[in-house]
Amino acid sequence: MQWETVIGLEIHVQLSTRSKIFSGASVAYGAPPNSQACAVDIALPGVLPVLNRKAVEYAIRFGMAIGATINSPAIFARKNYFYPDLPKGYQISQLEHPIVAGGRIIIRTEDQEKIIHLTRAHLEEDAGKSTHEGFHDKTGIDLNRAGTGLLEIVSEPEMCSSAEAVAYARTLHSLVRWIGICDGNMQEGSFRCDANVSVRPAGSNVLGTRCEIKNLNSFRFLEKAIDYEVTRQIDTLENGGSIIQQTRLYDADRDETRSMRSKEDAHDYRYFPDPDLLPVIISGEWIEQIRSELPELPEGRRNRYIQDLSLSPYDANILTATRELADYFEQTVQLLPEQGKLCANWIMGEVSGRLNKEGLEIDQCPVNPKQLAELLLRITDGTVSGKIAKDVFDSMWQGNGDSADAIIDAKNLRQISDDSEIEKWVDEVLAANQQQVADYRAGKEKAFNFLVGQIMRMSKGKANPAQVNVLLKKRLAV
């Protein structure tokens, strides 16, 4: 039988606020255990939550970025369950009237584009962390993370492969960083994926029983866990078994998913509106203000690069993968408006390559967009060749903010386009390489390249290569 896969993702995005969503404790990562768990976070008797404006603003910003509806009033509800890292015995979350409803994002896999609709995105507080090692037969509870603001983003079950799921997660990851609501640090748990996976006979319009795979903290694990789970489900069904709705955990060491808890003892969360928190009214003006402050989004920028700068979709996708890279490109191309392709090639080639090699991020790049643009300008106006430009770039990288012109002058790298000077080198090289001249004349094209190389070497790379070509041909034709 042919099977098709249905995947929906729930992604928890940790909001990059300074303080927690309902308390004034810091959310900074890596503090000593429980040193950032204030009276509200450890749920002392009598304490009360007060909502962080920034968390609401970030949720609205996200809603605007995906073309969603903002619910006003938005309502907070309590999700009741007992767990040692949940100090109140309930999590403040949202059920009915989540702050963000609907919306959509475009994902791209190798050759196709697809729209994925979002169900909702709601605000909630994070739980603390349990440490199972280091306390013998005990578990240690650190509540520093408890109360950190999260935006839980829920997609419709519209993805049909692990590749699509990964593309969706990557697009979302890029977007939340782009609009500045999350640092996207997956190691630190700032961006956590749960996948709802089911399979059904191809062509069926009934959803199969789904399993939820929890806590997939890398794109690679997301892909592998889904692939494993899909195979497991299909195998089970083809062997006459049935799928039990359950929560499963991905074990990266064994590359498998295994059951965490089954539906039988699923919690009855007893959601109800939190009486300590009132309806959140979000005015149209506030929404408009946030919308107006929204940066140009990756999708818009990508399309602009294709249309206005004639970049290929491939290049445009790469350059808009992160806000930082896109801004770097943007700032460079603004100084060289006619040279989109050249800027793109350099940033995707020389700049990215060098960053990769040295393990740096684009915002740590030693060569700033202005420096780069000035250098590229010298290529376009013929001052230096592309090859020399790479040397200049290298100097800039190691230097202390010197401009391209300063380096070119200091190192005397200006391209030589004076015919008589180049002719001198041509003559010298021809005289010294009779054999190659003969080879060329005998039809060996390769010999020509050798001669060009020799001339360039003699000129220390400064001879204008185009002119070298022309003059050499002329001489050889004689």
Partner: protein
């Protein structure tokens, strides 16, 4: 509506309160009586009435995103049943 003994046990489990057979029986009797009183609510047709979660129609105030709390772990953990190296301790949690 009639409550059963298994209802009592189910909700005691949800509420994480240990309950023995005798107490469950006793609770069943008392809760059944209370629910008889509560059942009076069903006599009123409330179709179209908006539920009221708060005593007045108030609106949530928003806090500025400022860190106002400092580390008070020593103080807070001095009243904790069991701590080690700054962590609260519980019996090993098995996932």
């Amino acid at each position: 509506m009639t409550l059963s003994l298994s209802d009592i046990k189910r909700i005691a489990k949800l509420a994480h309160i240990e309950i023995n057979e005798a107490d469950a029986q006793q609770s069943l009797i008392q809760l059944s009586g209370i629910f008889n009183l509560i059942e009076q609510m069903q006599a009123v047709d409330t179709q179209g009435v908006k539920p009221m979660s708060h005593s007045r129609d108030m609106v949530q105030r928003l806090r500025e995103d400022i860190v106002t709390e400092s580390d008070q772990r020593m103080r807070f953990q001095s009243i904790a049943p069991q701590v080690e190296d700054g962590y609260y301790l519980v019996p090993k949690v098995i996932e």
